[in-house]
């Protein structure tokens, strides 16, 4: 049994490394435009509603336990999609800042640094929240708060827009219109 676990762990390590190398060589185009990446794609109000403890309490009190569990599961799956979108956008923002590091002047390096920090934090939080959301999909009765995610997402998007405003108009941005 122990041999199997260790050999599988070795295989997992090699697979992760190989996948990272493949992914790293195919993400070149993902930073062509900063405008679309800094546009908020997550409906914050809808997400807040999905993870609102008061809303959940209301549903819990007014629905049968079975119906509540079904609806709550659906709501959590919808929230998963929002969080995945936010995490994806945070990744692209980090890549965008990394790719434009050499051409940053004036206030941009400072804003970019803040943006990267906020995006990394959002991404780390998103991964944790995703785990928690899947836990709640499996056990709809568990109470976990997700109030930090929307606030952090808004902060990242705000910084992204600011960085975009300060950025010199590049060829890619002009072309994107």
């Amino acid at each position: 049994m122990m041999i199997l676990i260790v050999v599988l762990a070795a295989f997992a390590l090699l697979s992760l490394a190989f996948w990272t190398v493949l992914r790293n060589s195919s993400t070149v185009l993902a930073v062509a435009d900063s405008k679309s990446v800094t546009e908020p794609l997550v409906d914050i109000a809808a997400f807040r509603n999905l993870v609102d403890p008061a809303e959940e309490e209301f549903l819990r009190n007014n629905l049968t336990p079975q119906l509540f569990r079904t609806i709550q599961r659906e709501r959590m799956l919808a929230a998963v999609e929002y969080v995945q979108c936010a995490a994806g956008q945070a990744r692209m923002l980090v890549q965008l800042v990394e790719s434009t590091r050499d051409e940053q002047t004036g206030e941009l390096p400072h804003i970019s640094e803040e943006l990267v920090t906020a995006a990394i934090r959002l991404r780390a939080l998103s991964i944790l929240v995703l785990f928690a959301l899947y836990l709640r999909v499996a056990f709809p009765g568990v109470r976990i708060s997700f109030v930090q995610v929307p606030a952090m997402y808004e902060n990242v998007m705000g910084l992204g827009k600011l960085a975009n405003l300060k950025r010199p108009v590049s060829r890619a941005l002009t072309a994107a219109g």
Partner: protein, 249 residues
């Protein structure tokens, strides 16, 4: 026949290591990766010493020398992993201390894991020196493999950007570590009956890792800039549309 193949692989690794050392010196990468250069030089020197001892020295002398080099090798490999952590986190001022902290905490946890694995495993022949040695090597590989796994996983989770040659060095180290981890585990469990086969696979793994390092150290064209520079303007907008659609899915 098998012995000849192992010999060829052993010699090939030496040649590749010499070229890697040359590349590190020519590209002045030893300033950024001093421990990696030390590791490569250690391997070159150890090859000469071990090869000499294997043919002209006694079996006991060879064994002691091999053990000594292995101890240096372990320290340097852990140093390279710490160096990779530092390089990956260096670009991100807000979290660059995180790398060192994570390495320390993870090392302690992984040492505990390696101890548990050692305690739970059966050694095929407890009186055999080689069986004990392979069990010890397996524990070391668990720590190294765990740290590398953590590095790759953190880069994915935090969306940290890999830069060359860090990615290539880490990938090469992953190949060597994962092959060694599997081989040392099987050797420790099954004893010395299939030593030559395991030795052959370990050598192939090391040579693959060394070739990966060599390829990484040759300057490559900056793909990012070249693609962006040649991309027609219409493709940019279509790319943006696709990107938005993907994000909305």
């Amino acid at each position: 026949m098998l012995r000849t193949v192992i010999y060829v692989l052993w010699l090939a690794a030496f040649v590749v290591e010499c070229v890697i050392a040359r590349q590190l010196l020519i590209r002045r990468l030893f300033k950024e990766y001093p421990l990696f250069l030390a590791y490569v030089i250690e391997h070159i020197v150890s090859f000469i010493c071990l090869f000499f001892c294997f043919h002209f020295g006694s079996r006991v002398a060879y064994r002691h020398l091999y053990m000594g080099w292995e101890a240096v090798d372990v320290v340097l490999k852990l140093g390279i992993i710490a160096e990779l952590f530092a390089h990956v986190f260096a670009s991100y001022k807000a979290i660059h201390h995180l790398g060192t902290t994570i390495v320390r905490i993870a090392s302690v946890i992984l040492v505990l894991c390696a101890t548990v694995v050692a305690l739970l495993s059966n050694i095929a022949d407890p009186n055999n020196f080689l069986s004990k040695f392979f069990a010890m090597e397996r524990s070391v590989e668990i720590v190294q493999g765990g740290l590398l796994f953590l590095l790759f996983a953190l880069c994915y989770v935090l969306a940290l950007e890999w830069k060359q040659p860090s990615l290539g060095i880490a990938f090469g180290l992953c190949i060597i570590t994962s092959v060694n981890l599997a081989m040392f585990t099987l050797r420790a469990e099954f004893g010395s009956s299939s030593n030559q086969i395991f030795s052959l696979v370990s050598n192939v793994g090391y040579d693959l890792g060394a070739v990966t390092w060599l390829l990484t150290l040759y300057p490559q064209r900056d793909k990012g800039h070249s693609v962006a520079g040649t991309m027609p303007e219409l493709d940019v907008s279509s790319w943006n549309r696709t990107l938005l659609e993907l994000l909305r899915k």
